[in-house]
């Protein structure tokens, strides 16, 4: 937001690009989980674009992005976040977009030293080089620490009106925001991408381990964002909805999974990922019963549907006592 404003102040026409990777936090869980609904309904990049008065192009790269997540040349950050490869890829795509749409250069809001792995002084030239944007990449917030770029040499942007921020402190940025008249701030300090989340990364790693190969479909990564994930064995796991919003969202996936739900008591819809045996499904039913309103009842009745729109199998089970579910079954 700030970087754009700094360049706009110099009279340059700017348009925004937002890449949708499938791992973006907002939109999804916020739309799914009721308790988060009031917190974050709007898309923050659209909101920023509106504040800045610029067009915003949202581009779906979720399919192509798989290769970045599965095979990051520069490795992962603390979790399964391939930040450096991701940035290189996004800058490369932005630069291609510029060339296709008659724009002259790319700007990013990077600040040297703000992120331990991907925003170091040493990584700045790597991003510029490997994305092939070379010196048509301007980082207005830390440009004075970096070599002069083509737009600066050409006089399209004035170097002396760019900034020299560095390090993790965001104080100078707040001060600049104030100077530029930006009072509402939408700059998450990380936390806009599920890949930086430890619990999410564990679920993704578990998915790969269980399948014996590193691959995913976009639907898989959507479902990692919802429900409790419980894996009693390698061949199956339960995705147990935690509330009504998740229940509604998961209903959309019934045609792709075996699923079960309690009928004698209120309780969660549960999808079964993998290939469970009949015994596995009985165990699953006992676990689901434990999360139903019949958790203290002698018996809970559930319907198990192996194939959507086919007759359900009715089962009666004793709810599993909470303490009997081993902690290591929970993936979180």
């Amino acid at each position: 937001m700030l970087a754009t404003k700094v360049i706009q102040e110099q009279g340059v026409h700017v348009e925004g690009i937002n890449f949708y990777t499938g791992f973006c936090v907002e939109g999804h869980t916020h739309a799914i989980r009721k308790k988060d609904k009031e917190k974050q309904k709007k898309n923050s990049s659209l909101w920023v674009a509106e504040q800045l008065g610029i067009k915003l192009h949202i581009i779906d790269i979720s399919e192509e992005y798989k290769d970045i997540v599965l095979n990051p040349k520069h490795g992962y950050g603390q979790n399964l976040n391939p930040c450096l490869d991701c940035k290189i890829d996004m800058v490369a795509r932005a630069w291609q977009w510029c060339q296709d749409n008659d724009f002259d250069f790319v700007i990013t809001g990077e600040v040297i030293g703000q992120r331990p792995k991907s925003q170091r002084k040493a990584t700045m030239p790597i991003i510029a080089r490997e994305s092939q944007v070379e010196d048509r990449l301007v980082r207005p917030l830390c440009a004075q620490h970096l070599p002069e770029t083509y737009p600066e040499r050409e006089g399209w942007v004035k170097r002396e009106e760019l900034y020299d921020f560095s390090g993790r402190s965001r104080k100078p940025q707040f001060a600049l925001a104030e100077k530029l008249g930006i009072d509402e701030w939408s700059q998450p300090a990380g936390g806009c991408c599920f890949l930086t989340d430890a619990s999410y990364s564990k679920k993704l790693q578990d998915l790969w381990d269980a399948r014996g190969e590193r691959r995913y479909e976009v639907d898989d990564i959507m479902l990692l964002k919802v429900g409790r994930h419980i894996r009693p064995a390698k061949n199956f796991k339960l995705i147990v909805s935690r509330e009504e919003g998740e229940n509604n969202f998961m209903r959309g996936y019934r045609s792709q999974f075996t699923y079960l739900y309690p009928t004698s008591h209120g309780g969660p819809l549960t999808l079964i990922d993998g290939s469970p045996t009949d015994e596995d499904l009985e165990l699953a039913a006992r676990i689901v019963a434990r999360f139903s309103q019949g958790r203290n009842a002698d018996k809970v009745t559930l319907e198990v549907v192996r194939e959507h729109n086919q007759p359900a199998q009715v089962v009666q089970v004793v709810p599993m006592p909470a303490d009997d579910i081993p902690e290591e079954w929970y993936i979180h």
């Binding site: 949708y20 939109g27 999804h28 739309a31 609904k37 898309n43 659209l46 192009h57 949202i58 779906d60």
Partner: protein
């Protein structure tokens, strides 16, 4: 000037916005697009996208289980 429809039901934001954006890029000024969605986030995001791109939001309403958004395409 013609009327077009887009089915964005069961898709979560920002996918309905992306589909709307891509569909509108194929249309001409004066055309109308009716988008059918189920994610409540679209009630905020699609109108915001229209404002940002200078298209006219004709209406955005919740009808029983779905959200119906009508947009008129402008030359931007």
């Amino acid at each position: 000037m013609s009327q077009h429809e887009l089915n964005a039901r069961n898709l979560l934001c920002p996918i309905p916005v992306i589909r709307t954006q891509n569909k509108i890029s194929e249309l001409s000024a004066g055309d109308q697009l009716v988008v059918y969605c189920t994610d409540p986030g679209t009630l905020h995001d699609i109108p915001a996208w229209c404002r940002v791109h200078g298209h006219t939001l004709v209406s955005a309403e919740e009808q029983s289980d779905e959200i119906v958004i009508t947009i008129e395409v402008n030359d931007t």
